[in-house]
Chain length 179, copies 2
DNA sequence: ATTGATACAGAATTTAATACGGCCATTATG
DNA sequence: CATAATGGCCGTATTAAATTCTGTATCAAT
């Protein structure tokens, strides 16, 4: 399958919201984006060109950000996964922190509600490499402390799922919210 | 681009380790797996069939786990990202916890070193849905407490990078490890 | 030195992506 | 209310890419 490169949506042209068919398409393509439009059409009940048209729209609108190869971390020698909380004086996207983000080992950087703290996901070859990354983080100006959570084993890891939005059963002890 | 479905590697047939060319290929395909083999070959200095052969091998060996559409969480109405630590009595992949993993909102479940605790990444439509998920988690047998980290903003989020393994400069105050 | 295996390039073939035209349904408009 | 305009789809035709095939060079092991 394929066509023009997925681009980041610079502008928001046709932001029609995704319908049930689009979700089905997304569900299929998250599992496997290497199938043909004929196969995709079959699975969601469309002709190949119609499926193609939908996918093009999903790309244009930015619903599909990218079509990417998912790499096994072990294959590229990064078997060690860790999450790091760093407490910072104030928030921010400091230049020092952004320098850290250029390391290929760093996969995610989020700022977190409550404390002034950042949550970072890293994948390294071994504990030695993790140590280097951590000491670099600790030396970053504004960082007051770090806590690391080294992952022993991963039970589930998957990309964003389109999933049909279903309701959770309200816990009995919980009142319906006012708004 | 593409061919037969990426399969999970049941057996380990040709586990030759990835060389520099393979890393280049992975680097390109992580960015954009929709390019043609001609284009891929150009970028890494191979003929189209040779590039194709490499990619097939990377799939067979499991280095490329999947080729997937990356979805914008906002497009599927999941703008809220949170990490949840749950403390558990003992470890484990209890049936109850595994039931949680079937919710499409749950993206990752890891067990963590040190405490007996699990780290869970979830993405929901709103705080209401998060609340439902959390109360469900708290009601899971064996769970003694939960802590949630709601993400305010994400500065970096990307897939596993093949990256050329480079050395960190050893911190000056740190001795070389003995092994 | 010879054999075998591996990786590659180039050409040939098959398959899939893409472009085009027409149809139907829904929605906007006079 | 009638009618135009739009959007989404299908079927077909064309073009481009994936895939197969064959020969060759390189390297390793016998």
């Amino acid at each position: 399958m394929d066509e023009e490169t997925d681009g980041v949506p610079q502008n928001r042209p046709a932001a029609r919201d995704v319908d049930a068919t689009d979700r089905k398409i997304l569900g299929v393509l998250v599992d496997d984006a290497t199938i043909s439009y004929a196969e995709l059409g079959d699975r969601v009940g469309l002709s190949p060109p119609a499926a193609h048209e939908r996918v093009k729209r999903l790309r244009r609108s930015g619903a599909i950000r990218n079509t990417a190869a998912i790499i096994d971390p072990k294959a590229v020698r990064k078997p060690l996964l860790a999450f790091v909380h760093i407490d910072t004086k104030g928030w921010g996207k400091t230049p020092e922190l952004m320098a850290i983000s250029e390391r290929p080992e760093v996969e995610e950087i989020h700022s977190v509600a409550g404390d002034t703290c950042m949550l970072i996901k890293v994948r390294t070859e071994d504990t030695r490499a993790l140590e280097g990354l951590l000491s670099r983080l600790y030396e970053t100006p504004g960082v007051t402390s770090t806590r690391s959570y080294v992952v022993l084993s991963t039970y589930l890891e998957r990309p964003v799922q389109p999933g049909i939005t279903t309701e959770w059963p309200s816990p009995r002890h919980m009142a319906k919210p006012l708004y």
